[in-house]
Subunit: 722 residues, 2 copies
């Protein structure tokens, strides 16, 4: 008996040791692009709706999980084999299937041949459309496809006929592509009318824009593009802040007449045409128009048939900037009403508009940001939104009554949710996570939130691994009042008696945030890896970052870097207050705006940070582009001091610690000139940064290069911070 | 007494300690471009000849030191103030003065206004010529100047008239400039006839050559060239091995008629026209012509007035290559005879030719290289040469009798000499050094070598500094028979009981050698610096390097890198045999061909070399240019295995140690594609080199950047090899 007892005691005593013998992560497991990354990511599931019926879309089958009333079922609608048997090539991944009509047993699916509308009762194709090369946008309503060929825009109608929209397209005269460098929420250049009879499209004349001379080196296969092995020039039109910008116009093409009218918006010089939207009856096109100064936004209606400018429905001005990124959204039950989103009261909120009489009333309000409109519930006359109302670090779903603005929360109120609303508006397929929930798939009932049904609770993919402790919290900003949210990762095998080196990971720029109350507080895989190597990792969303409202974001206006750094230094003070952080071994790392922050922190606080790795950094805002740059900095002509003070070229001589700058050599966003000029400035100032580049890569490393990159970043901290 | 004795003993014992307290060098003192470099370089003096009278040319005065018989005098001929008083601007540095006519008290000097022929007896200008903008070449005989304006070639005659030679000059059609990428000894593109009546010039059509897209980033002054701050494309015609090359022709311009005739050399496609020379009577132009294969050289005479091809005087072929770099030189006493230099017997030697009858006889022979013709002594009918006859690591002066080939050594026979021969051929102003002589200025008597007179023995500029021990020696090459010369630098404060890290500095390519029996065995300042930091430095001239004859140089033919590395590994074996060398801490560094060698050694012997720094490396000979590349490698089409085997892209996955590649970002010699492609290859192979660049710099860093560079190189070895 005694012997048994002591064995049991031994077992208890060895538990901590066994915990330390848990598995260790590799970069191949933690970094997106790693060979084992997907083996250790939370399970991925895809859900869609056929009308209000919930369907799980697997790789090989579509399975209905509940009917339109929400009653659980389990019925396979069709399989990949069914689709392949329909005689239009082999079925591709079913996860991309959609259900155009809740009243018909039909799914829009993709095969090796093209697009097919498939009837799972007859097991036949309703129709098929062969793949169109250069496809830009397909319109289901008319089965027309906009596509590009040799720089020109074409439309292929359902009858198979090709209609040439433009004839003078070139590298300089661009048709049907995203414009304004993807700012203002723009991500494409074609916009089908609701019934698919007309195509609105962007035309961009960038002949007057200076080329940035990007160079494509011939890669190790020793063969360049044109049969030569010599490096090739690949010029890219890049309008830098304060320089001549491109001119955009909007055309409306009618395949029935093969004619185009252009919206009569006036001289396009130094103007932005954004957020294109159609009226449900296809008669009117709306856009939001801004002057280059970005201090005014006008919602303007145009006659789609003639291009005539009809009226200005709304004008918003702000001495800093107005930043519309959401096209108007019509109420499905009333073609005369739409929702406009604006930050004018300090937070992004919804406003109800009438197509004739303009603004009607504000639908949501409060010191929180509405982030998304999922859709509408026509029965209840409500709009379904996502917002940060519960907490700036949470995203939850709510209904908002269009009649009285009353809001009702739809999910459990915790964590960060994303989802898709059923066509009828009755259900949401909800994917969410929190520090306590790895990932959970729920289906939410929009009218009866209490009838929440959990579809799948994902197991922890990191079971068996030694995972560091990750906590979230908040500190005060440098202004003494604003709450800033952070996450803190302790080294694995944490010993409170030890002193650890600490790394600040930072982004800090507009439109992005890093800390959310989701799985691991949204920690990136590399942070886990560094914790495993014995580093404290700290991430703080400073003022200027996203989703905290206009005042928070614009605290940095015209002087990018200053307030952001002041806040990050609050984070550093907090870090230094932790007894287990070695204040003599602080590092910093960030990419893009975070590269700007990293470099800036290394140069501004040379005695605080010993080691930094700055990726794709902005070095001088004069080298950045017009749309983003001038929004936050005005032009160099208007704000010379701001540009001068924020230029890191001027601070190159301050470098004391070890700073490695890393770029994608073909970065079209933050062009190589930034980092190359910084190297030159350091050389002239007699300081010694380190530098690395990835030829052929853009603003971010992807795939295998991403693993290589993080091995590199890790090595640098291991070489100099440990 | 006992106390005194012990004090004396103490003094003896502390001597080594005191020696260690000598001054330490900084990079600013040791690196060319450093702020104090010139304070610690051997004293520089400039000597010239007025006829056979020796003149010392100081910054502020010209002082005659001996008369035409060699009798010592000390007479100031003129001062800078004298020149400035002549009414043609302020005198520039007198060191550049020359004496056109031994019979007249006249010096050709330069002032802020231009060129002046000054008479120091009348203290007046004989004539003056204002500076010509874009000057290419001035001809004293006719006082005509060839110059460039807007890509076109002009001649300004003594009467001040401008004659336009070309009208269609452009970036692609180049007049009056060096051609064939400065290979074959070409360094300029204009060649005045002896009396200055005619101008031979190169015309190069490179419109068919691919552009390499060099990019000039706007530098930190934030202003680019064209008033834009955006990076500028600066394309550079760069014919890569095996690709389409340029076409060169040679014109003869006559300012008297304003007409040009072109030499009727036939189709210039894939041909090299080199070593242009005039007959003394201006009637004939000679060039050496090679096909692109470089396996044949023809010396061809042309009628300068008509351009007619007169005759081929000599043809030399070699299955490897023929490499003429010396234009023919006429005997001053016989206009029908000239000297041709050839490696055809295995070493560069002199051959006497007759303008009508061709080759007469070989003038020098033996297993040594003649490096230079200084000139002639007409009285003795001898030619004055420099050669390695005494030793491959020495350069000495000799006379060679044109009649019987008899040679007589003119200097003391040690060290490395350079000098200038007096116009009459009686004296040489000799500057030389050896491991025992910092720098000495002698005047040699060509007909009476025993009458050597030392003018100045330079004091050691490093007195008071702790200078490492530098020795020279030889080992056997990998072939077991060939002697290879090295220098070895021990760490300062050397302790034979210690183990030191060692760095191999290497070049190893054709046309260059690093080890000469001169001051410090030609050690570079950085080597001294590294010795001071505690490194052994070793430098070995492997087979393939210069001045050892054709077989030695061509041991590497078609497979650059292989034999060179085999020899360097012999050096490594020797290093490892030294008891004080730590074989686990070997580094390697080199630039250009030495960068190729460094990278190759790191990749081929990853377990031997722990740290390397490769500057401006050739990575793949397919990326190098036609003239040099195809001489040593043939074309990629002819020698695919050789190119493939020597490509470092293929070995990128072998990297184990730390390798930093450093380039001038605007390197026009070894274009950035080399190193960028290598980075890409390493990224693809999963290895981690380091990389750095100097925007705006070319193939070598100069000025301040050179100090920055060596600080950087040093830091890398200190970080990883120490």
């Amino acid at each position: 008996m005694k012997r048994l007892l002591s064995l049991a005691l031994l077992a208890v005593l060895t538990l901590p040791l066994m915990a330390q013998q848990k598995r260790q992560f590799t970069l191949e497991q933690l970094i997106y692009g790693g060979t084992e990354y997907w083996n250790y990511a939370p399970e991925y599931q895809q859900y869609g709706f056929w009308g209000d019926c919930l369907v799980r879309l697997d790789v090989e089958a579509a399975v209905m999980l509940q009917d339109e009333k929400g009653k659980p079922v389990e019925q396979t609608l069709f399989t990949a084999d069914d689709l392949s048997a329909a005689g239009f090539g082999r079925a591709l991944n079913i996860m991309a299937a959609t259900f155009p009509d809740g009243a018909k047993p039909q799914a829009l699916v993709y095969t090796t041949e093209g697009t097919m509308l498939y009837d799972w009762q007859t097991k036949q194709a309703v129709w098929t459309l062969p793949r169109v090369e250069g496809e830009l946008e397909f319109c289901l309503a008319s089965r027309s496809t906009a596509f590009e060929r040799d720089h020109n825009l074409f439309v292929r109608t359902a009858d198979g006929r090709d209609h040439q929209v433009s004839r003078d397209g070139s590298r300089e005269l661009v048709y049907g592509k995203s414009v304004h460098r993807d700012e203002f929420g723009i991500s494409k250049g074609t916009f089908w009318s609701p019934k698919g009879n007309l195509l609105a499209f962007y035309r961009m004349d960038q002949s007057m824009v200076t080329d940035y001379p990007q160079v494509n080196i011939a890669l190790p296969n020793l063969e360049g593009k044109d049969g030569s092995r010599i490096a090739q020039l690949e010029p890219d039109k890049y309008p830098m802040a304060g320089e001549t910008s491109h001119k955009v116009t909007v055309g409306i093409f009618d395949p029935a007449t093969d004619r185009t009218v252009y919206l009569q918006a006036g001289d396009p010089t130094d103007r932005y045409f954004t957020n294109i939207a159609w009226s449900p009856d296809e008669a009117t096109v709306y856009m939001i128009e801004l002057p280059r100064t970005q201090d005014k936004a006008e919602l303007v209606a145009y006659d789609a048939r003639t291009g005539a400018r009809l009226r200005v429905l709304y004008t918003e001005t702000n001495p800093k900037y107005v930043h519309p990124v959401h096209p108007i959204t019509f109420l499905p039950w009333d073609d005369t009403k739409f929702i406009y989103q604006s930050e004018r009261d300090g937070y992004n909120h919804l406003y109800l508009f009438d197509v004739e009489r303009g603004e009607q009333r504000q639908l949501t309000s409060g010191a929180f940001v509405v982030t998304d409109i999922l859709g509408f519930n026509a029965k209840d006359k409500s709009v379904v939104i996502a917002s940060h109302e519960n907490s700036p670090v949470r995203t939850n779903f709510w209904t908002v009554s269009v009649k009285n603005g009353k809001r009702q929360m739809l999910d459990g109120g915790e964590g960060v949710h994303s989802g898709v609303l059923s066509q009828g508006g009755a259900f949401i397929a909800d994917r969410w996570a929190s520090p306590d929930v790895v990932r959970r798939y729920d289906v939410l009932n929009v009218t009866h939130p209490e009838r929440l049904r959990t579809l799948h609770d994902c197991p922890d993919p990191w079971a068996g691994f030694e995972v560091p402790e990750i906590t979230g919290g908040s500190i005060k900003a440098a202004d003494g009042t604003t709450d800033l949210y952070y996450r803190l990762i302790k080294p694995t095998g944490f010993d409170p008696a030890k002193k650890y080196p600490a790394i600040v990971y930072v982004y800090g720029g507009p439109g992005v945030r890093n800390v959310e109350e989701t799985r691991n507080w949204d920690a990136r895989g590399w942070e886990i890896y560094m914790a495993q190597l014995g580093y404290v990792v700290f991430v703080l969303d400073n003022r200027g970052s996203s989703d905290r409202g206009f005042a928070f974001e614009t605290a940095t206006f015209r002087h990018l870097g200053d307030q952001e750094m002041a806040d990050q230094m609050q984070g550093v003070a907090y870090l230094k207050s932790l007894p287990y952080v070695d204040a003599d071994r602080l590092g910093v790392h960030g990419w893009s705006f975070g590269g700007f922050m990293t470099t800036n922190l290394m140069l501004t606080y040379p005695d605080v940070f010993k080691v930094g790795v700055a990726g794709g950094p902005v070095i001088d805002w004069r080298y950045y582009e017009v749309m983003y740059g001038e929004r936050y900095m005005d032009t160099p002509q208007e704000n010379p001091e701001g540009y001068e003070q924020s230029s890191l070229l001027r601070k190159a001589g301050n470098l004391k610690g070890r700073l490695q700058v890393i770029i994608g050599y073909n970065d079209p966003v933050c062009v190589p000139q930034h980092s190359l000029a910084f190297m030159r400035a350091c050389e002239d100032a007699g300081t010694q940064p380190d530098f690395f580049l990835y030829p052929g890569d853009g603003h971010n490393m992807m795939g295998r290069d991403r693993v290589h990159l993080h091995e590199r970043i890790t090595r640098y901290f291991e070489d100099y911070l440990k």
